[in-house]
Symmetry: C2
Subunit: 189 residues, 2 copies
Amino acid sequence: MARVQAERADAVLALATTFRLHGYEGTSLTAITAQTGLGKGSLYHFFPGGKEDMARAVLDEVGDWFRREVYEPLRADGPADQRLAAMFTAVETYFASRHLVCLFAAFALGQERDRFAAVIAAYFSEWLDALETATGDRELAADTVATLQGALILARALNDPALFPATAARAQSRAQTRARARAHPPLSS
Amino acid sequence: MARVQAERADAVLALATTFRLHGYEGTSLTAITAQTGLGKGSLYHFFPGGKEDMARAVLDEVGDWFRREVYEPLRADGPADQRLAAMFTAVETYFASRHLVCLFAAFALGQERDRFAAVIAAYFSEWLDALETATGDRELAADTVATLQGALILARALNDPALFPATAARAQSRAQTRARARAHPPLSS
DNA sequence: GTCTATACAGCGATAGAC
DNA sequence: GTCTATCGCTGTATAGAC
């Protein structure tokens, strides 16, 4: 079902790349028209709210992806080990193919934070909640998400892409060990 | 020794706050003049290279602080436990009083990353090296710095300042436990 | 739906008086 | 060293033809 006319969904994917490369403030409409191939007319047709509208559409799309591919598997049935494995696989695949940048984290650090505060907070708190559901351990959830996010920063800062999967793998085995210990306590308690 | 005329060092401190609040792209010269109380004339007198020069001065100042208060204690004499404790105390104090933002991390995520790539990489690799010196464990070093940086993001994203010291405290006890286990292996090896 | 032309505010930076 | 005035450019956003 090929289409001649552009679709909003296609534009959102291209926009995600641009925002990942340049951040919110650093992304100009000129860069967007170059990346998407759409003129300003088309862009404002799809996103009447302008640049903020475009960014919001991207965050929504990413949020939906995580809800579907990361949070839901964490809340599914099955042993914690398996649920955690599903999460780590999805997350590692996702960031490896997206320039090792988490848009929510990037937006949380800039002045655009206030503008998107609600959706940023929702992304992370949903993630923490789902991890807590899977492991029964809120602190473990926070440690795990923090390690993953920090590993993304380190990988980017040191220009060492391999650092992310390596750090994520250790976080995974630590999380699985602790979840197992919690499910089957060694002695009493 | 009071002075009437402004000093570059004072300006750098004020600039740090501005860049932390707005990021690099989001910091305008107008915001800088408001925050520092200096006109453009004075700013360009102190920082002939303009905005990039100002940001670089801030990064240098922060880098020096970490070198002195964080990395050196990690390389000092004494048991690993003590060196790690010194690092965590310094880091927690630092970020608690500075809006829970690491400028190097913030700059690493935006489009200004390329401009400051060298100094950003130096900051993190020095930190990792110093931690490896203290613990003898490169992976532990990466996990620790990643957890701290991720905790900063989470605290900011969730607007929950307490999350940072709580997560840092767990990272500290984990690091000390692992460093101890490495220094005094339980059995053979 | 897509284009070109344009409005107009704000940007970083500079000049020159004091 | 600090100020004010101003430059040239780019930013987002809009208007209107097609």
